[in-house]
């Protein structure tokens, strides 16, 4: 039983979105309650045991820079680290870590335990408490009523969740072994929210002791002592390799022969799945000419021999799963520890939200994570943090926290969700960000730290660490800009880099502008007063910001233009449907999405540049006329 039933913020759910939401709400000063069906599963990794990847790794770093949990938990549980896109420019580097499935949630839970002002309650929310249109709390299955000024729902795949294995009719479940949440889903729908369905899948897990490692390729992590968290230096566990193998012709035969027994292709599942994370059935059907597909075997943890078979997500029956697995080199005698399955669940199309992730039709109710049609731990965490912070800020009567598209991938994510909606489970890519030279993994603290500090998301010790870090980066930048280098010192390096030697002393900056010469090489050659091995991330920032200064400047000019458009505000009272000089499609979309600025309107699919031009004229005319009308009245 919960002793006190009045809170500032109630967070429903304890996954990656729920954990960050609860922590952020507490950090901004709100008295917070988290309700989740199983306390032991708080922070659980339900899908693959990894954090990060392209764009997602930057989000994990952003969450950390904003005082979130994800970075610390990843550091404390990572058993392999790699920096993806190393061969390209630092602007698109993305950290990725394989995590121990036991250690990760344990770390999340220990961070939550440190938070004074957070109450955790085990229970299943079955309904909402309303005062008119406004939400005032939730009711649990046991009939307990809990009151909160604001409520954040992070229900993951639980809303009318249904698991499919093989051609069998689906079984109601939120995750394997856990019941779905049906009454909450129904109540939200009955309150007039538009609802839709997505599906996602997981591959089978296998026993690592049954794998023939001599036949497969070993993939070790990068040696760097990389940390996802900039503020807290957790102890990193011992490192493990991943393994790579390939499917062949025999797998094609097995999948094709059983395609009708797949839940997805047999017609059992209606929801749409993500194109970037297709099942093996999908791959075989859509790319019949590809003779082979890559399979990653990822360790599930230090204490277990289980391997996650990444790339082989499937909803075929268990006996077919084992048959197809055993066609793969190295897995001829593999045994399945957990069967792969597909899961279908409700989500609420996110155009119904505002930029704070508050549901427009139900004030004080916030959504974060898969309920908004996204996939991915990082996407969930980013939304959770923003929804929790904003729910807390609103409960305390403070100004909301909104990240713009040129400030964070989290800003891109939320703006995409509410502006463009989703037609498949949404995940981030660098190509979704128009300012990706700015949104890098190496500058998250500089981008977001001060803002987080202002809102109160950082602890005192995090604030001190933030300022140290920013100072250190500034010093490094200053050295690159100010220092000079003699020919005798520079030339060996220049020749090694394949560029022409110099004849007289020049500024380091001039050499940095040569595409062939890296900042790191110059730091070493020029005997920089800092250790390049420790400060490689700050050096990566220099690589982009100084060497390719022209590109970064052009990007920030574009961002400034966008900001200018953002000052032309729009609101829900504008009668778009009467604007006859705006295209029919644009009128419909504008009414549906109700953008807050011209900049947001410009991103709505179906709104053309000509529409925007006319929209400005129509809105100005309408505002003039409504002023005249109201002054007559």
């Amino acid at each position: 039983m919960v002793a006190d039933s009045n809170y500032d913020v109630i967070v429903v759910g304890g996954g990656h979105a729920g954990s960050e939401a609860a922590a952020a709400a507490v950090r901004v000063g709100a008295k917070t309650l988290m309700i989740t069906p199983d306390l032991l599963r708080i922070g659980q990794m339900s899908c693959n045991p990894a954090i990060g990847g392209i764009a997602k790794g930057v989000v994990a770093r952003e969450v950390d820079a904003l005082g979130g949990i994800m970075g610390r938990a990843t550091d404390a549980s990572r058993i392999q680290f790699r920096m993806l896109n190393r061969s390209k420019g630092p602007a698109v580097w993305s950290p990725r870590a394989q995590c121990d499935r036991e250690l990760y949630p344990r770390s999340v839970q220990s961070v939550l335990k440190e938070l004074m002002g957070l109450t955790v309650h085990q229970g299943m929310v079955s309904g909402l408490l309303m005062a008119g249109d406004i939400i005032v709390g939730v009711r649990t299955q046991q009939g307990i009523e809990l009151f909160g000024k604001t409520v954040v729902v992070t229900a993951g795949t639980f809303l009318r969740g249904k698991i499919h294995i093989g051609g069998e009719a689906g079984v109601g479940a939120g995750r394997v072994g856990e019941p779905p949440s049906i009454s909450l889903a129904k109540e939200l729908e009955n309150r007039g929210l538009e609802v839709s369905r997505f599906k996602t899948g997981t591959p089978p897990r296998i026993d690592g002791r049954t794998v023939d490692y001599s036949q497969i390729e070993r993939q070790d992590g990068d040696p760097e002592d990389f940390r996802f968290s900039s503020y807290t230096k957790e102890c990193v566990p011992e490192q493990r390799p991943c393994w790579i193998t390939w499917t062949g012709k025999d797998l094609l035969r097995v999948v094709k022969g059983n395609i009708n027994r797949s839940a997805v292709f047999g017609g059992e599942i209606s929801g749409l799945g993500p194109r970037y994370c297709p099942s093996i059935e999908d791959k075989v059907v859509r790319f019949p000419d590809n003779p082979r597909h890559q399979v990653f075997l990822e360790p599930e943890g230090l204490e277990t021999t289980e391997l996650y078979v990444n790339g082989l997500s499937t909803s075929l029956p268990p006996e077919v799963q084992i048959e197809l697995l055993q066609t793969i080199p190295g897995l001829e005698r593999a045994e399945i520890t957990k069967t792969g399955y597909a899961i279908e669940y409700d989500y609420f199309p996110p155009h119904q939200l505002s930029h704070t992730l508050e549901v427009r039709a139900i004030p004080n109710l916030y959504f974060a994570g898969q309920i908004n049609g996204t996939t991915g731990y990082e996407e969930a965490a980013g939304q959770g943090l923003m929804a929790g912070a904003n729910a807390g800020l609103k409960a305390l009567g403070r100004k909301p926290l909104i990240l713009e598209r040129d400030q964070a991938y989290i800003g891109v994510l939320i703006d995409d969700l509410i502006t463009k909606g989703v037609d498949e489970p949404y995940r981030l890519f660098t190509s979704r960000a128009e300012f990706r030279l700015t949104l890098r993994q190496d500058n998250t603290v500089r981008r977001l730290g001060p803002m987080a500090c202002d809102v109160g998301l950082l602890t005192q010790s995090q604030e001190v660490e933030m300022n140290n870090l920013i100072d250190r980066e500034k010093q490094i930048q200053r050295w690159f800009v100010g220092a000079t280098i003699k020919p005798s010192v520079a030339n060996p390096t220049l020749i090694k880099c394949g560029t022409s030697p110099i004849k007289e002393t020049v500024r380091i900056l001039d050499l940095l502008k040569r595409p062939e010469v890296s900042a790191e090489a110059l730091a070493i050659a020029g005997h920089a007063p800092f250790d390049p091995n420790v400060n490689w991330n700050a050096i990566a920032a220099v690589e982009v910001e100084l060497k390719y200064e022209g590109y970064v400047r052009r990007e920030s000019e574009r961002a400034a233009k966008l900001r200018e458009q953002a000052t032309f505000e729009l609101d829900g009272s504008i009668p778009y449907k009467t604007f006859k000089n705006v295209s029919y499609e644009a009128r419909e979309k504008l009414s549906k999405i109700s953008p807050t600025s011209l900049a947001q309107a410009s991103r709505i699919p179906g709104v053309s540049p000509a529409d925007l031009q006319n929209l400005i004229l129509e809105v100005r005319r309408w505002r003039r006329e409504s002023i005249v009308t109201s002054s007559i009245e």
Partner: protein, 466 residues
Amino acid sequence: MPKEPVTDTIVALATAPGLGAIAIIRLSGGQSLEIIQTLTQGHHGKIPARSPTILPIEEPKTGKLLDHAMVTTFPAPKSYTGEDLVEISSHGGWLVPALVIEACQAVGARIAEPGEFTRRAVLHGKMDLVQAEAVIDLIEGRSRATHDSALFQLEKGLSRRISDLRAQIITIEAFLVHHIDFPEEDEAPIPVGIIAEKGKTLLNDLDELLRTAPEGELLREGALTVLAGLPNSGKSSLFNALLGQDRAIVTKIPGTTRDAIEATVSVGGFPFRLVDTAGIHDTEDTVEQLGIDVTQRYLNHADLVLLCVESGRDLLEDELHFLDKLEGRPVIVLRTKTDLHTKKDKDKNFIHTEIAPRGADEVLQISALEGTGIARLQETLPNLIYSRLVRTGGFVPALTRARHSDSVRVAKNHLAEFIQELERVVPVELASTHLRSATIALEELLGVVATDEILDQVFRDFCIGK
């Protein structure tokens, strides 16, 4: 399909006013079907869609019969404007159409602004901007080639070409996205060298299209063809011969044509704006001085100059000086009034008159009076000015407006920079910023809305997903 929201209904005469046995009146907008029902009360029952029906049109208040007209309804969205649209073919003349339009107004329609039907078609996505421009060109076209080009453009010929070029840029972007966003996939990334090669092919395509612009733009206005020459050198006679009617006053007194006279003629199916001006020599006569200023003003914009020089004599210093000043502009020297010289004279002057003087592209002998040489001139003109189009025919994509070539040039320049940077080993994520700008330039030209096509293409073409 949601019902069309409140838009007012517009009405206008679609055919030329006054003339003709039949007049077509068009109604477009949310109320047009209702309006036609009201005007045809005498007919009971619903007017069938897309099927011409003869109906009595009545004045709404009095029920007085205005005309028996053929009415065709086109319910949205399958209509020219994408809205509910009605075409009323009434009897022509001045009065009947006016009465029908008045009746439409009386029950809620308003008179359309110029081009409003086409504007609505663009707003409803029935055509893109390039097509809408073609509608205007088609209506205003003054020669067969203009007509062919406009029709081709209207049928999306140009739009398709530009969309196709845009799609090619997107393909290159998709390769890069695959490169950057999916570094660990089955299929290894496309090598940068191949991406650069694709870029170069596309660069050539953009260049090829851009080369159509000078002729394409001339097609709409007509090539400005200035007749120059000393007073009484036969300019006005030539003007009339090309025009086929006595428009300029032809006399023997030097300096009769004091101002420029302009007419658009179709020569071999191609439009030429023919300008007859005052003579090129300096004069004290102030009125004629004005005429010479006009010459200079036209000359500055001339696409082609026809210098008339009476045959039977060498070119004068003035005329040679004039040719020098034209600096590379196409010019034909016409040895005029060949009828005034005997065959013997012609033989004597053969050497002087057949060889093009310095600065001229061609020399031709003509007699406007006898009509000799005119046919050859008419053959030469299109070949000189519209050589590409003469070769390819009108039904190829051509850029017909400065707006078109500006956008294509922007796209081309960005693409060129992209390729250069790839070759200079600038990281792909930086170089690729130019591709976006190139795509946007072409999208602005079409007036289309960009969607997430790049990712769509990546997922279609590559097997993605661990």
